[in-house]
Symmetry: C2
Subunit: 204 residues, 2 copies
């Protein structure tokens, strides 16, 4: 009898390196699968349906919202993005572990629908360090960076709804912590019902 | 500013190897300290006060019970055994991690007084395996072994009050799991309040 998989939801402010963390987790752990989002935006060059996204018609997406078929969704610049429940639930039932890299509002929506989801918030070691990293990327203007830092102030207030905070001061330490979280969560008592039942039966 | 230590409470049925696990944890992790119990029984040859036990007069022990100064206590064959709160609380405040190896009733008493205690239940992989191990120790009679197995049936029903169940099918795997639990627990959101506060302050 297979055990149910684990749903690991990873979020964090822009510039905390969560993309790097997620890619490294996938490389290190072949049983972890990245959840694929659905979107109503058009595919960009090279993007493949079912790999990068599930590309969907707007009315189909809206019907999924109405029918509660999405674990979370948001409208960004006129396009819809979301996580179809059944892909995630099926994979978990099959015993696969799933990573979902989504924003904080989305993560909290997921926790409401699937309380067993494990929410990990990747935090920068400090504001100054985050600022340095954002400046180093050279992809954002000063103004944009200021906006991101201000945004983080609000995001951190929502971090209290997460199960774990992993400070990304070194990528290896952050990965060690997340691997430990995955291992520990698999030992949680509610996941060990079959061994409890087996051992609490009278007689051998 | 130092972080508060972690209180790891380890229990498990007789024969699951929890003693071996606790000794190996201490060897591998120099910051983990074993909590010392208080008892009213007389010291045996070679036992040192403050190392093996805190040996106490009966009326002092009873006063500690009355004044709620024990995290847990029990009377076994006419002697009292218990865990003085202030040793544990002081060590945790100083940032030391503490292991407490106690029975299930004691562990559940601790959880009530210190909800942040992390309760780990060491379980055998199966009843047959536990029976084989108990027979292999050659220290117990058949009757004693039967009693222990029966006892486990009841103990497993209380295991639901634990945070984690670690199946000791291999000592190394059990240790890896407990190390992961310690690491993960240190990332718990409630333990990361200082970084949340620091990052959620407006301005840099």
């Amino acid at each position: 009898m297979g055990e149910k998989g684990l749903l690991l939801v990873i979020s964090g402010p822009s510039g905390t390196g969560k993309g790097t963390v997620v890619r490294a987790l996938q490389r290190a752990n072949s049983s972890l699968r990245l959840s694929i989002s659905a979107t109503t935006r058009l595919p960009r060059d090279g993007e493949v349906d079912g790999v990068d996204y599930y590309f969907m018609e707007r009315d189909i997406f809206k019907k999924m919202i109405e029918e509660g078929q999405l674990l979370e969704w948001a409208k960004v610049y006129g396009n819809y993005y979301g996580t179809p429940s059944h892909f995630v639930r099926d994979a978990l039932e099959r015993g696969n572990d799933i990573i979902l890299e989504i924003d904080i509002q989305g993560a909290l929506q997921v926790k409401e629908k699937l309380p067993e989801a494990v929410l990990v918030f990747i935090a920068p070691p400090s504001k100054t360090e985050l600022q340095t990293r954002l400046l180093g990327r050279k992809s954002d203007s000063r103004e944009e960076i200021e906006k991101r830092l201000k945004c983080m102030t609000g995001e951190m207030k929502l971090a209290g709804g997460y199960d774990y905070i992993v400070v990304n001061d070194s990528i290896n330490r952050a990965l060690d912590n997340i691997h430990a979280i995955i291992m520990a969560e698999k030992c949680r008592t509610w996941r060990q019902q079959s061994i409890i039942e087996q051992l609490s039966q009278p007689g051998s």
